[in-house]
């Protein structure tokens, strides 16, 4: 009744190809933006920002990046953590070497570095396919982290081997480092996520995205109709790693403040981000964001739920129970809806469209 396209006529190609062609969708997005840009910074306290919202935004960005590679181009990668580490370490190097350079430019440049590294490690994807490729990307994961651990130049010869985000300002407001206010860091991450999500959405429905999907669905057939596999696969690796690199830079500079390579470990980053992509729904930007919300919120919920209902458990017992529940939830979710949150969202939209009628 409320949500339908009837009566909304399009008289130009531009309106026909708009990213949200339906008025109700545009209203909904406007509402989402008001909540994200105005309500959340007013309502959320420091704990919420630091523990939930900022990591969610950053991991959502990484998940969109991985979704470009795995969801749209069909290349499974377990090296997300390494590409994020490239972004983080190059941001660190550049921001300490050129203190006057605008931090946003540094973030974007480190994305470019990550993209180059990603393309190097993506080159084998032309010959290696499926799970062989997934395991081969682990080579990138372990090798790159080893390099960052071993070569002292990358962490400026600091004896502890950690990189620490230096304080940098943007429009006169401190946005990075431990002194920066959570709200400022929140806005930086939010703007990056919004801009990059729209860019990904537009890439995915344009020529580039279509060629990725053609390669994903059957690479030989795609090659025959004139899609170059080399350029397509490498562009997927490059753009995906660009996203991951920027996410990695934000991860250190706007969230953790300082970290070692441990922070980009396969179990800390690569697997969770892959979970986000798959639980959210392969090949969907919205899905990546919803998946990131689910995976960041779930452990926090599981940690806080038992005390809330009055159950107090020993710390390690609780940790193991959390693990079991998380594992079971993943399996259950995959059984109930293998296509992920994105599919649930579409079903919900379909239902609203026909409401109050069942068909």
């Amino acid at each position: 009744m409320f949500y339908r396209e009837a009566g909304q006529f399009k008289s130009t190609y531009q309106t026909d190809q708009a990213i949200f062609p339906i008025v109700q969708d545009r209203w909904f997005m406007a509402l989402v933006f008001i909540v994200a840009f105005v309500v959340i910074p007013l309502v959320a306290d420091e704990y919420w920002h630091q523990a939930i919202i900022i990591p969610f935004l950053i991991l959502a960005l990484a998940a969109i990046g991985l979704n470009i590679l795995t969801g749209y181009a069909g290349l499974v990668s377990l090296g997300t953590g390494a590409f994020m580490a490239v972004g983080a370490y190059s941001t660190y190097k550049m921001s300490t070497a050129f203190p006057d350079l605008n931090i946003i430019i540094i973030f974007l440049l480190s994305g470019v570095f990550a993209a180059m590294v990603g393309m190097v490690f993506g080159a084998p994807s032309l010959r290696i396919k499926g799970f062989y490729l997934a395991v081969a990307t682990l080579a990138a994961q372990f090798f790159i982290l080893w390099v960052f651990n071993k070569v002292e130049w990358f962490f400026n010869y600091s004896p502890s081997g950690t990189i620490t985000a230096p304080p940098r300002e943007l429009f006169g407001v401190l946005v990075t480092g431990p002194e920066a206010s959570p709200v400022a860091r929140y806005y930086v991450c939010l703007v990056f996520l919004v801009v990059f999500a729209f860019a990904a959405k537009n890439m995915a429905r344009g020529r580039l995205g279509r060629s990725w999907m053609a390669i994903r669905d059957m690479d030989i057939a795609a090659e025959i109709i004139g899609i170059r596999p080399l350029q397509t696969k490498l562009s997927a690796f490059g753009i995906s790693s660009f996203y991951c690199g920027v996410a990695g830079a934000l991860y250190i500079f706007c969230w953790l403040g300082s970290a070692e390579t441990e922070a980009f470990d396969i179990l800390n980053v690569s697997f969770p981000v892959l979970f986000m992509v798959i639980i959210g729904g392969l090949g969907s930007v919205l899905g990546a964001i919803l998946g990131a919300a689910f995976i960041t919120l779930m452990p926090i919920f599981l940690t806080n739920a038992p005390p809330m209902i009055g159950i107090h458990l020993a710390a390690d017992l609780q940790k193991h129970i959390e693990e079991i529940i998380l594992g079971l939830m993943i399996i259950t979710f995959l059984i109930v809806e293998p296509a992920g949150f994105n599919r649930l969202w579409q079903i919900a939209k379909e239902k609203i469209r026909k409401w109050p009628f069942p068909y």
């Binding site: 062989y132 129970i321 959390e322 399996i331």
Partner: protein, 311 residues
């Protein structure tokens, strides 16, 4: 020149200098490789029969070892403990088939892979809740003394592991080639639908395959646990087995064995001779890099089925 020398010439001079030491390194590598093969074998069995990339194999090794140790701590005699652990693994296989594989049949491989990572969490949590998470010593009476043959130092434990692995592989080979169940397993591996249509019960086969790989996990758990103690880090040996898998080929049992041995030797030799040149700790990624380079020339691994692509 200096760099070229340290990477290309000096290591070989070192090797030529003391061939006995090289032999020891190679044998040490082979022994480590046997352990990798044991883990990789479990992956291969499941991948062959159901196309599932079972990431939880490492956690299954931990779970089996923890169960065995937990039973032995409660003064269950060792033979009984092993039989009981095996029964637990069969039960687990049945649960997995009923509640995970059956509802997920016909899903994309990556979905099943994800489900296996979920399963990995369940195994890790459950094993540690049931039996505690501190390091446990597993002592089943394998001698650990070292002895010399022809100037080469050998460890009795490693030798026992190698012999056990050989027996296990021989047993599996007979099981696959000669028994009716083995033939059914191979039929399922070739083609699910064709196997179903000639009356092979897919569900039973899956339970059997997961039980067998549970058994392999138990053997691997005994060997690894005996060597390094039963602890959480056993889970990470799954990561050690992955380069073995891609080197040997996902669907090949001989591939898992030979791939494991090759990776073991590569790893040890490189660590000893090239490690110092790189600044050490290259074990973590060297196997992956070696496998990656190898795959560039042979994308299906050593013994994997030739990939034939049609439109």
């Amino acid at each position: 020149m200096e760099v070229l020398n340290t990477f290309l010439i000096a290591p070989f001079l070192d090797m030529a200098d003391s061939p006995i030491f090289l032999l020891e390194v190679v044998i040490g590598g082979l022994m480590a490789g046997v352990m990798y093969s044991l883990v990789a074998l479990g992956f291969v069995l499941i991948y062959k029969a159901s196309g599932v990339f079972n990431y939880a194999q490492g956690a299954m090794v931990l779970f089996a070892a923890l169960t065995l140790v937990g039973l032995m701590e409660n003064h269950v005699p060792i033979i009984v403990a092993i039989i009981l652990t095996m029964a637990v693994m069969v039960g687990v296989a049945m649960l997995i088939e009923r509640y995970m594989l059956r509802p997920l049949v016909n899903q994309a491989q990556i979905i099943l892979f994800m489900a296996c990572i979920g399963l990995n969490f369940v195994f890790e949590g459950a094993g540690q809740i049931a039996w505690g998470s501190n390091v446990k010593k597993l002592d089943i009476g394998i001698p650990e003394n070292s002895f010399e043959i022809g100037g080469v130092l050998l460890n009795a434990f490693d030798l026992t592991a190698a012999i056990t692995a050989a027996i296990l592989v021989a047993f599996l080979a007979v099981f696959f080639q000669k028994t009716a169940i083995g033939r059914a397993l191979r039929a399922v591996a070739d083609d699910h639908q064709a196997a179903l249509s000639v009356g092979i019960p897919l569900k039973t086969i899956w339970v059997i395959v997961w039980s067998v790989s549970g058994f392999v996990a138990l053997v691997a758990g005994i060997m690894w646990g005996g060597k390094a103690g039963v602890q959480f880090s056993l889970v990470l040996i799954a990561l050690k087995a992955l380069p073995v898998l891609i080197l040997g080929g996902f669907e090949s049992v001989p591939g898992a064995i030979i791939g494991g041995l090759l990776i073991g030797v590569f790893e040890k030799v490189s660590e000893v001779y090239w490690g110092p040149a790189f600044g050490g700790a290259i074990e973590g990624w060297f196997a992956y890099m070696a496998a990656l380079v190898f795959l560039m020339f042979r994308p299906q691994g050593l013994f994997g089925e030739k990939i034939i692509e049609r439109v």
